[in-house]
C-alpha cells in the first residue's frame, strides 16, 4: 500500500495541519510517512501545499511528482495545481464552497464538498480543513478516524481544549459526508 497525497490551500486554511495529522495518525497505525514542503519563496496568505506519502513499507522517492493519488484543494487559487497534480485513478477533493466551476477530470475521480459552509455550521469556517480531512477519511479509508482523532488530541488538546471539541465535531461531520458521498 502506498498513497501519495497533496494537501493544498491558501495560507491560514490549515492544509499543513491536515498533512501533519495524517502523518501522526499513520505513525500510530504503524505506517511509514514522508512529508515534503513546497519550494520557492512563501508569503503570508499565499498558497501552500504539503506533500505526504503514506506506505506500509519503507518509502523510496520522497517526492510527489504530479502523481498524487489523493489530492485536496481547500481554495480556488490552488485548485488548478491540484487538478494538474492528480494521477490517473486518483481522487481530487475540492472545496465547492470556494471552487464554483470545477474542471472536467480525465481519468481520476473528483469529489466536491462545501466544507467551508459545513464548517460554519459546526462553529467556525476555520474548521473547514477538519471537515475536509474527515471527508477524505470517510471516502478513501486511508486511515482510521480514531487514529486521526487521537493525533488531533495530541496536537491541539493540551493548549486549546475548547477548539478541540469543535474540530472533532468538524472531523465527524466531514467523515459522515465522505461516507455518504
Amino acid at each position: 500500500m502506498l498513497t501519495k497525497c497533496m494537501f493544498s490551500g491558501s495560507g491560514g486554511q490549515g492544509s499543513a495541519l491536515m498533512a501533519k495529522l495524517v502523518c501522526l495518525a499513520a505513525i500510530r497505525e504503524g505506517l511509514k510517512v514522508v512529508m515534503t514542503q513546497t519550494y520557492g519563496i512563501e508569503q503570508r496568505g499565499g498558497d501552500s501545499t504539503a506533500y505526504v506519502i503514506v506506505s506500509d513499507e519503507p518509502i523510496g522517492s520522497p517526492i510527489v511528482e504530479k502523481d498524487a493519488t489523493l489530492a485536496v484543494a481547500l481554495s480556488k487559487s490552488i485548485y488548478d495545481l491540484c487538478f494538474e497534480g492528480s494521477a490517473p485513478g486518483g481522487s481530487l477533493f475540492y472545496n465547492s464552497s470556494l471552487v464554483e466551476e470545477p474542471r472536467q477530470p480525465d481519468g481520476f475521480e473528483q469529489i466536491g464538498l462545501p466544507v467551508s459552509d459545513m464548517a460554519m455550521k459546526v462553529g467556525s469556517v476555520r474548521a473547514a480543513n477538519m471537515v475536509m480531512l474527515g471527508a477524505v477519511l470517510g471516502r478513501s479509508g486511508l486511515l482510521r478516524l480514531e487514529s486521526v482523532e487521537e493525533a488531533l488530541k495530541e496536537t491541539m488538546g493540551a493548549k486549546k481544549p475548547a477548539l478541540l471539541e469543535m474540530n472533532i465535531k468538524a472531523l465527524h461531520a466531514g467523515y459522515e459526508a465522505g461516507r455518504e458521498g
Partner: protein, 356 residues
C-alpha cells in the same frame, strides 16, 4: 530516553541521534538548511548531560570543536557549505592531530553563498579532504531519517577507532524532509572507547603530559604522514559501505547517493516491471568510496549512469572505480525551485540510454 518513533525533520533526527548516541558538545552557527539541528540540540542535549553552544562564527565553531575534541569527549558541529568552507583549517588540523569529532554538512547550492535550496554540491570538498594536506575524513551519506539513526553509532565508532573527524553529508532536500524515524534508547558510544593515552583529561588527579599537535618537522613530518597513510589504507579496506539493488544480472546500473540513491529503489522497481535489466548502487560511505561495489559488477553491465544534484562530482569516483571498463554517463542538475531531477526524468534518461 527509551526507544520511540517520532515524526521529525531529518535535521531534527540528526540532533536526536547525536544526543542519544553520546554527543556531549554541539557547537554551531545558524545557516539554512542546518539550523534545525542546533535548535533541537539546544533543547535536548542538557537532558543527556550535554550542551549546545552557538558561537560567533563558523571559525569559532571549528576551533571550539577542536578544543573539545582534545578532551576526548564527543563533540560535533552542523552547518552547510559556506560554513563548512570556513571550518576547513580546523578540520585539517584535527585530521593531522588525529582528533575525533562528528560533523554534518547539510548541503545547499554553491559556490559562494549560493542558494538555500538543497544540493549535493559539496561532494568534492567532503571527499577530497577539504582543507590543505594529504588527508581524508570518513564521509557518510544517509538517504533517510532512519538511516541517519542507523549510521550515527558507526560514525562515532569511525571517529574513535581511527581518531579522525567524521563527516555526514545530507542533501538539503533530505535534510528538510519530515518523516517517521524510530530513535534508539540512549547509549554513550564514545564512552566505549579508552582515550586515556592521548586526551587532555586535566592535571588535577592525573599529572600526565600529553601533546596534541598538527605541527611536525622533518623526520617527524614524514612519520606522521606515513602513519596517516596507513590509517587511510585501513579505512579504505575495512569501511566501504553501500546498498545495491538488482545488480546481479543488470545491463545498466544507476549510481547515486543521498536522495537520488533513495529514488533508485522506485526507478529499479518501475523498470524491472517492464522487463528491463536495471540495477542500482547507492554509495553510503563517500570516502572511502565503495570501490568494491564496482569491482564486483557482473560482466552483464554495459553502462553506468550517475545521477547527482550537482554538475558532476561523484561521477569522477565512479569513472576511477570502473577504470574504463564500461561507459559512464552523467545526469545532474543543481538549483531552481526543483533543485534536482525527478523520478520521471531519471526514468526517461535511463530509458534513453537503453535505446528506448
Amino acid at each position: 530516553m527509551s526507544q520511540e518513533t517520532l515524526f521529525l525533520k531529518n535535521t531534527e533526527t540528526f540532533a536526536e541521534s547525536m544526543a542519544r548516541c553520546g554527543v556531549k558538545y554541539h557547537f554551531a552557527y545558524p545557516i539554512t538548511p542546518a539550523t534545525d539541528v542546533m535548535k533541537r540540540t539546544a533543547v535536548i542535549l542538557p537532558r543527556y548531560g550535554g550542551t549546545m553552544m552557538q558561537m560567533e562564527s563558523e571559525l569559532a565553531v571549528s576551533s571550539a570543536l577542536a578544543g573539545a575534541a582534545c578532551s576526548g569527549k564527543l563533540a560535533a558541529t552542523s552547518s552547510s557549505g559556506p560554513g563548512m568552507s570556513l571550518m576547513q583549517e580546523a578540520v585539517s588540523f584535527m585530521a593531522g592531530a588525529e582528533l575525533p569529532c562528528i560533523m554534518l554538512d547539510s548541503m545547499r547550492v554553491g559556490p559562494g553563498d549560493g542558494d538555500i535550496v538543497g544540493a549535493q554540491s559539496d561532494y568534492y570538498m567532503a571527499t577530497r579532504g577539504g582543507g590543505h594536506g594529504d588527508y581524508h575524513v570518513p564521509v557518510l551519506a544517509p538517504a533517510s531519517g532512519q538511516e541517519i539513526v542507523e549510521l550515527m553509532p558507526r560514525g562515532i565508532r569511525l571517529a574513535y577507532v581511527y581518531r579522525t573527524p567524521v563527516l555526514f553529508v545530507i542533501d538539503g532536500v533530505t535534510a528538510q524532509t519530515t518523516e517517521s524515524a524510530t530513535l534508539p534508547e540512549y547509549h554513550d558510544y564514545a564512552a566505549d572507547y579508552d582515550v586515556s593515552d592521548w586526551a587532555y583529561t586535566g592535571t588535577g588527579k592525573h599529572p600526565k603530559r600529553a601533546l596534541i599537535t598538527g605541527s611536525y618537522a622533518h623526520e617527524d613530518g614524514f612519520q606522521m604522514n606515513e602513519r596517516l597513510r596507513r590509517k587511510y589504507e585501513r579505512i579504505t579496506e575495512a569501511e566501504q559501505l553501500w546498498e545495491e539493488d538488482s545488480v546481479a544480472d543488470a545491463e545498466l546500473v544507476v549510481a547515486a547517493f543521498g536522495i537520488h540513491g533513495r529514488m533508485c529503489k522506485d526507478l529499479v522497481r518501475a523498470l524491472r516491471a517492464e522487463g528491463k535489466k536495471v540495477g542500482s548502487i547507492r554509495p553510503i560511505s563517500l570516502w572511502p568510496f565503495p570501490q568494491k561495489a564496482f569491482d564486483a559488477l557482473p560482466d552483464t553491465v554495459r553502462q553506468v549512469l550517475v545521477v547527482e544534484m550537482n554538475h558532476g562530482q561523484m561521477v569522477d569516483d565512479v569513472r576511477l572505480a570502473l577504470n574504463g571498463r564500461v561507459p559512464v554517463h552523467f545526469f545532474g542538475k543543481t538549483g531552481g525551485d526543483m533543485p534536482m531531477y525527478t523520478l520521471h526524468e531519471m526514468i526517461a534518461k535511463t530509458n534513453s540510454l537503453l535505446g528506448e
